[in-house]
């Protein structure tokens, strides 16, 4: 695997949309060619090389390419946009849409990321060592197709509307989450090791939520079904089991009515 390091040298005045920083866009390109890839600052289209120092050539394919992003990229959006293979490491904190529409590969963000990370993610692995913003693994604005595959691990906290319209895949959040966890979800699994705020699983028709800490206020649409012993992410414990959202339509699978499941650790 070849490694390309891009280091922020001339921070943009406006927010920078760097939708070409991905192993897919870099694959098969030399250092000079990578520096010529387009980025957008406001309504101006310029080159990656205007802001970043590029060192190293990419591998022949995305799978053979690793990118390391260094320097202050707090005003850079879309890192890892649509990546399908390879690796991307972001050493600092960054802005919106990290790993959005990603379908494969491994993306490691060592700092915090802002909202809409892993929007409509289909596959691959996203690890966020800091905190995640709002709409992690959610659908794009207006869309009904959120995260459908892959894995997300957040070592810190996550914001609101995590997993909105999620249909598949798995998310683990070691810290707390804000309101509206897995709203409208139709599949997938979210494990929250910390606390959840209110409106957990609102209008959810399928999928599973595990909460290890507290829930501020339970949704009235979730119905208690007793207690169960479960092993979740290596932890054995007793969980209170709820099904819901009773106010929503209910799908049928093999003749049985499908509900979303919510497990809260006791």
């Amino acid at each position: 695997m070849e490694t390309v390091t891009i280091t922020m040298k001339n921070p943009p005045a406006l927010y920078l949309e760097a939708d070409n920083v991905s192993p897919d866009a870099f694959a098969g390109k030399t250092e000079a060619q990578i520096a010529e890839l387009s980025v957008h600052e406001g309504n101006t289209t310029t080159t990656l090389g205007k802001y970043f120092e590029v060192s190293g050539n990419a591998g022949a394919t995305a799978a053979d390419t690793k990118i390391i992003v260094k320097g202050d990229v707090k005003k850079v959006k879309y890192l890892g946009f649509k990546m399908s293979a390879g690796e991307l490491v972001i050493e600092g904190s960054t802005d919106l849409y990290v790993g959005a529409w990603m379908t494969g590969g491994k993306l490691l963000a060592k700092g915090n990321v802002e909202g809409f990370a892993a929007t409509a993610m289909k596959g691959g692995e996203l690890i966020i060592e800091g905190n995640a913003g709002n709409y992690l693994g959610a659908a794009y604005r207006g869309d009904w197709r959120g995260m459908s595959g892959g894995k997300i691990l957040v070592k810190g906290n996550a914001g609101s509307d995590v997993g909105m319209y999620m249909t598949g895949g798995e998310m683990v959040i070691n810290g707390n989450v804000d309101v509206h966890l897995m709203t409208h979800a139709e599949g997938g699994k979210t494990i929250v090791k910390g606390n959840a705020s209110s409106k957990v699983g609102g209008q959810m028709v399928d999928g599973t939520i595990y909460i290890f800490g507290s829930i501020d206020t339970m949704m009235p649409g979730f119905k208690p079904k007793g207690e169960v012993e479960l092993e979740v992410d290596g932890v054995k414990a007793t969980f209170a089991h709820y099904i819901g959202d009773m106010g929503e339509r209910h799908k049928k699978r093999k003749g049985a009515i499908v509900y979303a499941n919510l497990y809260k650790k006791i």
Partner: protein
């Protein structure tokens, strides 16, 4: 204005019966002429196909429900935006493009005239503002009448003269083009939580049936002598077994004769017939009724249809058939928007994905193919996608590819997940017919122009007609190596001329043209009763005054073209 001569192209013009002969087309002062001077700019069309600009008879491209779709589907613009480029302003949207993108895309495909198929009269100002902002193409808009309180009250007593006077007033204040009917009576019933699924279901409160509404509106249409026939989306759209309701609706035109000075010979236009040609009793035994519908239309020469081809895309359905959209959101569980328009109509919007992996969608695709291939008279069947309901209009080149190539259809059929079901529930597998370029010109130019009453103006290349010309990179002398070449050729014109202005060159917009708003100005005898009824309804029921109702003046209709109709003699 410049003179042009388009030399050595293979010309297809049903108006003059030209079937691919090499012929020069001369343009002067915005019109097709016999000859031009030696200074005329020469366009080399050798090895290319030359047709008149195409005419869109039914699309939802302007107005409040289109805009509602744009507003509540930001995801439709997600990866479909194009930045400013040359003459073009930025555009976006896949199934519900922005106004500018709409104009550019039509022109690039060789379309020069398009009709907005459902204008809510109360929002005609909005419709005209969007039409104004859609460059290049001439546009008209059809106000909807099939659920209008005035119409229901007049036709309950069979008052044709009053209905006609009301239609004339409405066309004038809304700058409308034709009489459109959507789910007659059913959309009004929807305001009561009900629907009319057959032509004999009574409309609540008004106590009139869809059959009486349809017959009355045809009579009023011919009483006035409007350019276009009554244009109908019948009851019971999109349900298995609906073909019977469609046949019942078509039978209402029996014995009716066209009366107009525009050369139109028909009295009823059945739109998006694909959605109305379903047999079966549920989605499991769902099958094609294309044969029954086309047999009837083939025999009854006072009816025209358009296809409503499913293009197998993700799209946005929108119709003034409010109850149908509510039914649809229950089927696919996607977001639903609904709007009631006071005394006049309603509308609903729901996104829809026509997936090739779902048998119903694949059968709908096949029915859309069967209808134009089974129609014996291409002058009475027009290609549409009921944009954006069965698919975006930008897919016309693909629909043309499927219709012109059995090989392309077979490729698609083989790609369906439920291929066997498509072949057992439709007859598409046994149809070998491939549309010729001449038939294509009939179905997309001469035919729709004649039915719209525009036969003297567009849809042909006869000297004296508007110089709307499309030149395609398609050589009819050469065998088609790959059917995809057809799609490529019809996607981007080598040249498009609109009213003698070169608007597209090599698939790029080079001029924004001088688009016009087509509307119909009907003179009728004074009718104090209808004027009193209008005043009274505005005072009693409308939430706006008449002063705020009319689409008038340069802001709304900056470049009007009125078709004059004198109905005072009757």
């Amino acid at each position: 204005m410049s003179e042009y001569i388009i030399k050595n192209g293979h010309v297809f013009d049903p108006v003059q019966g030209i079937k691919g002969d090499k012929k020069d087309i001369a343009i002067k002062d915005g019109k097709i002429v016999d000859k031009v001077g030696s200074g005329a700019k020469v366009i080399d069309a050798s090895g290319k196909t030359v047709m008149a600009g195409a005419v869109e008879i039914h699309a939802h491209i302007a107005g409040p429900k289109v805009n509602l779709g744009r507003i509540y589907r930001p995801e439709d613009k997600l990866f479909s935006c194009t930045p400013t480029k040359g003459m073009e302003r930025m555009g976006g949207g896949a199934s519900i493009p922005t106004t500018f993108k709409t104009g550019y895309e039509y022109a690039k495909m060789g379309y020069t005239t398009a009709m907005e198929a459902a204008m809510p009269p109360m929002f005609s100002r909005h419709v005209h503002e969007e039409i104004r902002d859609t460059p290049i193409i001439d546009e008209g808009a059809f106000p909807v009448f099939g659920n209008n309180w005035f119409v229901l009250e007049y036709l309950k007593n069979h008052e044709i003269e009053n209905t006609a006077a009301y239609i004339a007033w409405m066309l004038r204040v809304t700058k409308g083009y034709a009489v459109k009917v959507v789910n007659p009576g059913g959309t009004e019933a929807w305001a009561w939580g009900l629907n009319c699924l057959s032509v004999n279901d009574p409309v609540p409160y008004f106590d009139i049936t869809p059959a009486e509404i349809v017959k009355g509106l045809i009579e009023a249409n011919e009483y006035l002598g409007l350019p276009h026939s009554m244009h109908i989306h019948p009851n019971n759209l999109g349900n298995p077994g609906c073909y019977q309701t469609t046949l019942d609706t078509l039978a209402l035109a029996k014995g009716m004769k066209a009366n107009n000075k525009f050369g139109r010979e028909t009295v009823m236009h059945l739109t998006h017939s694909q959605f109305h040609s379903y047999k079966g009793t549920n989605w499991g035994d769902f099958e094609s009724g294309a044969k029954e519908i086309t047999d009837y239309v083939n025999q009854n020469k006072n009816i025209t249809i358009d296809t409503g081809n499913v293009t197998l895309d993700e799209t946005t359905t929108m119709t003034a058939d409010g109850p149908f959209e509510h039914h649809l959101t229950g089927l696919n569980n996607l977001k639903w928007a609904n709007c009631d328009v006071e005394l006049e109509t309603a509308a609903g919007v729901v996104p829809y994905i026509y997936s090739p992996n779902i048998s119903v969608c694949a059968i709908q695709w096949a029915i859309g193919m069967e209808i134009p291939l089974m129609m014996k008279d291409p002058m009475r069947c027009y290609i549409t996608t009921d944009h954006p309901n069965a698919g975006p209009f930008t897919r016309y080149p693909r629909v043309i590819k499927w219709l012109m190539s059995k090989k392309a259809r077979d490729t698609q059929i083989n790609a369906f997940k439920h291929k066997d079901k498509v072949l057992s529930q439709t007859s598409i597998g046994s149809i070998d017919k491939e549309l010729s370029l001449y038939e294509l010109a009939q179905m997309t130019r001469a035919g729709p122009a004649r039915t719209l009453g525009l036969a003297n103006m567009c849809g042909g290349l006869k000297p004296g007609m508007d110089a709307d010309v499309a030149v395609y990179n398609f050589n009819p002398d050469k065998p088609v190596a790959n059917p995809d070449d057809i799609e490529t050729a019809f996607s981007r014109c080598a040249y498009t001329f609109k009213s003698g202005v070169e608007v597209v060159r090599n698939g790029e917009i080079v001029n924004n043209g001088h688009k016009r708003t087509l509307w119909v100005n009907v003179k009728v005898n004074d009718n104090p009763q209808v004027m009193r009824d209008i005043n009274e309804k505005f005072i009693k029921y409308y939430s706006m005054t008449q002063n705020n109702y009319e689409a008038l003046g340069h802001h709304f209709v900056p470049n009007p073209y009125a078709l004059e109709v004198d109905a005072t003699h009757v």
